[in-house]
Amino acid sequence: MVELVIFVLMGAGTLAGGVTVVLARNPVRSALGLLGALVSLAVIYVVNLAHLVAAVQVVVYAGAVLTLFLFVIMFIGVDRQEDTSETIPLQRKLVAGLATVVALGGAVLVSRGRFTWTPASGEAAEIPNGTVQALGGELFTTWVLGVEVTALLLTIAAVGAIALAFHRRSAESPTED
């Protein structure tokens, strides 16, 4: 029961944060909306006994990444107006129409009982263990290849940053080299 209450509250918080990110006109508000969504998600992780993931979520995403976002926003300037006029005519109406169709379709399926959420039990239903030790064990046994590939992904990101930003700037003003 407590779990359900927390889930509903935090789910609503996550959604509200997400909506704020999209709808807010001021980028700082968008960033704060993202913060709300991230923290709400972290609470949901705690409820699921994934303590380490929750801590990482708060420290890395809410702490470091979001601070970086805010830095960039401040750097560019908070009060710069974005040009939000659309180039495709009727874009909003089209999207609203599509969304309505999807929502109606979902409602029809639900009302006919075709759409009952019955998550599989059994194979996934073991009690999760969210300690650092358990997570580390998982990461470096079952998912060891994934960890290695993630390292490659970071390499690609670093190489890309150098190729796109660094060299371009040095090509534009060779005296800086």
């Binding site: 009982g113 599989a120 039990s121 470096f140 046994t141 490659l152 890309g160």
Partner: protein, 484 residues
């Protein structure tokens, strides 16, 4: 705590990918330490690709038909994955041989560009061999992110930046869709391992599979984006048009191979028992892709947009084979193997004619290409005829294969649509050939292409024609590449 279940680490099975990855790192270090010329870097990357390809061939020969999953079920190098590897490495080599002038233009960014090419190839091979949805996602991201960067690497104009940014933003949405689908599959079956997912369906009767159906739909949508199938294709023309000409062929080819391999594995290996549910959707995407691709290609006035839209149509043809079920996957592989070669060859011609870092290639530039360079005109013609599926080219055998399997898979209506779309496509390819051979050029300057490019183009043309006349060897090769 000593972990009780340490997965078997089968590095030797990953030998070609390891060569690519270490080769990429070595290239970067070589660039930092020695600052060699672009030619040295480019040559080194070709050697790396050739070694990887040789190892890939060796693994193909050594592979047994019933391959075991490795890394605790993360990867499986069965026949289809081993073939995907050969195709990715083969077209990468073909594209890179022809791309010397691109890297010469990139100057001090050449090493980064080459490293990204090698890493993207490794990523798409991993994606094709993934048996686990998380692993598949990592491979997809590894390949895609490298491609986003490559799209903007020339950075010489607004178009190139626009292409890279569009590709990144839409690609990110597609990745999110894919990962949401993977989450729903996990929710519905309790596993991300496709083999275990299939096993779950063998043991359990899923009475209300709505969660799973939505999951399958999202996975299909995410991967359809990567292969540029309609209606998830809108990024393709802009990206193909804006990205540097020398790399577009590579980008399009490897993304298609990785995407289709992943799609085939998800649908045919994981969700084969749901075929009655997903086959109509895949068939619908196929029909839409073929018609939209052919129609839009006909009204394109830029050869890159034309090739992009024709790529959408080809995605439709390949999906036609996929929709017919597991037995049809050999025809899918034949199609992918021959189409990517033609695609890379066509873009190599575009690059040779318009400049390796150029953005946009108007069709009027191709007027009278026959007089300016008979060789390039011939290569482009053969590639286009192959794409059109004319007899005596590989394209004909490929189209015939997917149509036959779709017919046997009770998708007669789809075959009818496909034949009509092929007929429309013939017109658009012939239009380009008419422009090249029957109109007089604006200027008579001969178009020169460097020697490696001519080798690559000559080889691609030879493959298209020779395997078109004698397709048996390749047909035998793909015969065993069936998802079970």
């Amino acid at each position: 705590m000593i972990p009780e279940a340490f997965p078997e680490i089968a590095w030797s099975a990953l030998a070609p990918e390891l060569v690519l990855v270490f080769g990429a790192v070595a290239l970067l270090l070589l660039d930092v330490q020695r600052k060699p010329g672009v030619k040295v870097l480019w040559g080194t990357s070709l050697v790396i690709l050739a070694i990887a390809l040789a190892l890939g061939v060796w693994q193909w020969i050594a592979a047994t038909p019933d391959a075991e999953p490795i890394f605790g079920g993360m990867l499986i190098f069965d026949r289809s994955a081993a073939l995907a590897r050969l195709v990715v490495l083969g077209v990468s080599l073909q594209a890179m041989v022809a791309a010397r002038s691109l890297f010469a233009h990139l100057g001090n960014r050449a090493a980064e560009g080459l490293a990204l090419v090698l890493l993207a190839a490794a990523g798409f091979i991993l994606m094709a061999a993934s048996q686990n949805l998380v692993m598949m996602f990592l491979g997809l991201e590894m390949g895609s992110i490298a491609l986003y960067i490559l799209a903007g690497i020339a950075g010489d104009g607004v178009r190139s930046d626009e292409a890279a940014l569009k590709y990144l933003l839409l690609g990110a949405v597609a990745s999110a869709v894919f990962i949401y689908g993977a989450a729903l599959v996990f929710a519905g079956t309790g596993s991300l391992d496709l083999l275990r997912v299939a096993g779950f369906f063998a043991r359990n009767l899923v009475l209300s599979p709505a969660v799973l159906l939505v999951g399958i739909g999202l996975l299909t949508a995410g991967l359809s984006f990567k292969v540029a199938a309609a209606p998830f294709h809108v990024w393709a023309p802009d990206v193909y048009q804006g990205a540097p000409a020398g790399i577009v062929g590579y980008m399009a080819a490897v993304a298609k191979v990785g995407g289709f391999a992943a799609l085939a594995r998800v649908l045919l290996s994981g969700f084969e028992s749901f075929r009655p549910d997903w086959a109509p959707i895949v068939a619908g995407i196929a029909a839409l892709s073929m018609v939209v691709g052919a129609l839009m290609a006909i009204i394109s006035s830029d050869i890159r947009r034309l090739l992009a839209y024709s790529g959408v149509a080809h995605a439709g043809f390949i999906l036609t084979g996929l929709a017919s079920g597991a037995q049809g996957s050999s025809s899918v592989w034949f199609y992918l193997a021959v189409y990517t070669v033609q695609l890379v060859a066509a873009f190599s011609v575009v690059s040779a004619l318009g400049g390796a870092v150029s953005s946009g290639s108007d069709l009027s530039d191709y007027r009278g290409l026959y007089r300016r360079s008979p060789f390039l005109a011939l290569v482009l013609s053969v590639s286009l005829l192959g794409m059109a599926g004319l007899p005596l080219t590989t394209g004909f055998v490929a189209k015939l294969g997917v149509f036959l399997w779709a017919w046997r898979g009770d998708l007669e209506w789809l075959v009818v649509v496909a034949v009509v779309a092929s007929a429309m496509a013939i017109y658009l390819y012939l239009r380009v050939i008419v422009i090249m051979y029957m109109q007089s050029p604006a200027d008579d300057d001969p178009v020169l292409c460097d020697r490696p490019t001519s080798w690559a183009l000559g080889a691609a043309t030879a493959v298209t024609v020779v395997l078109g006349v004698f397709p048996q060897p390749l047909l035998k090769l793909v015969e065993s590449a069936v998802y079970l």
